[in-house]
Symmetry: C2
Subunit: 326 residues, 2 copies
């Protein structure tokens, strides 16, 4: 059932092209072991060439065991395998972020080395549901609900994104794949592990298909986000005037598109991402000829009919605020 | 704090117009009692005239007590009050739906009688968060996340939609309003009460602002839905050809807009709402020149470049299916 499901995911989400070489990222855990095994079965019909790699961050004493399991499976399947080592320093959430970044960098290097144009990683539908749930609770807005991308622009793809984790684990057990105990419980943040083991089971008690529904929501949100983004691009082009954006054109746009357009405009102007509170402040400036000061000393202001942004790092926030409320 | 918050909600969401008469629906519980009290305080500055009404479904022996509490508060505030009686028959979920429908009908009649152009009801931010959560778990897609409408086209408005339930209850207690124990726990479905008392507290343990985030998501989703709807209307106009819709125009549209447009087209053609599974089936028909039979004997088919729908109630589903897979 997993094989058929992955075949359908690959086709419907257009994850691979025929004749491509795919680098499969193997953690030693059951998710990525099943991924490598399934792709190995599908490779002939899809005309794919496979390589495998595992990344050792040097953060855990049992990393050698993880790499060993991944190597054993690759050898059993006759897939070329590389053990990549990276060095990461830091603590807590920052360490996890750095480890993730270093892992994807090492995989990208290895992909270039072996001539792979795609990197397959083992995230499942459960990972997607947990991501969506975490974003929901933290308050991401609809755009954040898009969750994990099944196919990233940089070549990272997720063939198991439509498979339940339990089914994937059962597949790994049925085929007696050499695996270590699920490393994703060790590699994930404390928050994520708690969502997985404490919150999701309660949601599943409310609706047995809650994981499918959360994951499907991600696809829905991604579709709407793409649409809002393309409309936002058109809005920015239409509103562009010398020195800023035409306020009247912005005001007449649908709120969802305006928010996306303002967010992109700020990012392009300042190089940083604006939070929702800043977007709300700009909306207020736009509605009532005000101004607002963003972090880093960026001043957004409605001057006549034009919304402008300029860098005024030397003016202290407090005096700006006072001026803004004149 | 509640008064200021409601004032802001009324302004930002444009719930009332000056000089309007508002009928406040009072259940006897603390939410609607606080609503009536707050609106009574805001009435002079907003130039609103108030009436109050409570609806007795005749379903509970203690309904007289609920009505009595609502009447006592109205008399204390000098607001004209009417006790409305409706008769509802049925069982379980169907009974609840009928009671809700009968309640809103009785309120609409009373609003006409007293010359009120708006009906204010006491739903809070917590009701909104519970609605969004329920839709998430049942799998509604982004459109369903819009949740409870703060302002319905038929004049029903929700001034407490940006207030937490606990703050509203504290307000009712502080002003010693005559209330019965929260009737919303009795009037809600078992599922809703379980979400409220078992699931939401666990989410709040993960993020103390989870209720705000879920409620804010509803606003976000509503904005995107409005945008998708208006784009879907344009798409339907553009795709309209003699006998159906131009398949090429549909295929080139963003998926989110196409889904919304197909949903509306089906509703206008058949009078019923299509579920997600039907929309998926039509997407497949559109992609590969197939056909699909919808409940009620509606056949959607790609004929050349045109997507058509027609009523063929006499053809059994099974033979249709076979024909479809030829």
């Amino acid at each position: 059932v997993i094989v058929a499901r992955v075949r359908r995911t690959l086709r419907e989400r257009a994850l691979f092209v025929r004749g491509e070489r795919v680098l499969v990222a193997c953690s030693g855990g059951p998710d990525s072991a099943a991924l490598l095994h399934v792709l190995h079965r599908l490779a002939p019909e899809l005309d794919l060439a496979l390589s495998a790699a595992s990344v050792n961050h040097g953060l855990r004493p049992d990393a050698d065991r993880d790499v060993g399991a991944a190597r054993a499976l690759s050898e059993r399947l006759g897939v070329p395998f590389a053990a990549l080592a990276v060095t990461v320093r830091g603590e807590g959430a920052s360490l996890q972020a750095k480890a993730r970044e270093a892992r994807y960098e090492a995989l990208a290097d290895e992909a270039r080395r072996v001539g792979a144009s795609a990197i397959a990683v083992g995230h499942t539908m459960d990972d997607q549901a947990e991501t969506v749930l975490g974003r929901l609770l933290r308050g991401s807005g609809v755009a954040g609900l898009a969750g994990i991308e099944p196919k990233r622009a940089d070549g990272v793809v997720r063939p198991l994104i439509d498979c339940r984790r339990a089914d994937v684990h059962a597949y790994a057990a049925r085929h007696e794949l050499p695996v270590v105990a699920d490393p994703s419980n060790r590699d994930s943040s404390y928050e994520r592990v708690r969502l997985r083991h404490e919150v999701v089971p309660i949601l599943l008690r409310e609706d047995a298909r809650a994981v499918e529904h959360l994951a499907r929501l991600a696809d829905d949100a991604r579709g709407l986000r793409e649409f809002a983004r393309s409309a936002a691009g058109e809005l920015l082009a239409e509103a562009a005037v010398d020195g800023g954006l035409d306020a009247r054109v912005l005001r007449e746009a649908p709120a969802a598109v305006r928010a996306e357009a303002l967010s992109r405009w700020l990012h392009e102007s300042t190089g940083t991402r604006a939070g929702r509170a800043h977007l709300d402040a700009i909306e207020r400036a736009l509605a009532s000829r005000g101004e607002c000061l963003l972090p880093g000393g960026w001043l957004v202001r409605l001057s006549g009919r034009v919304l402008t942004i300029r860098h005024e790092p030397d003016v202290p926030t407090r005096s700006r605020r006072r001026r803004g409320s004149e």
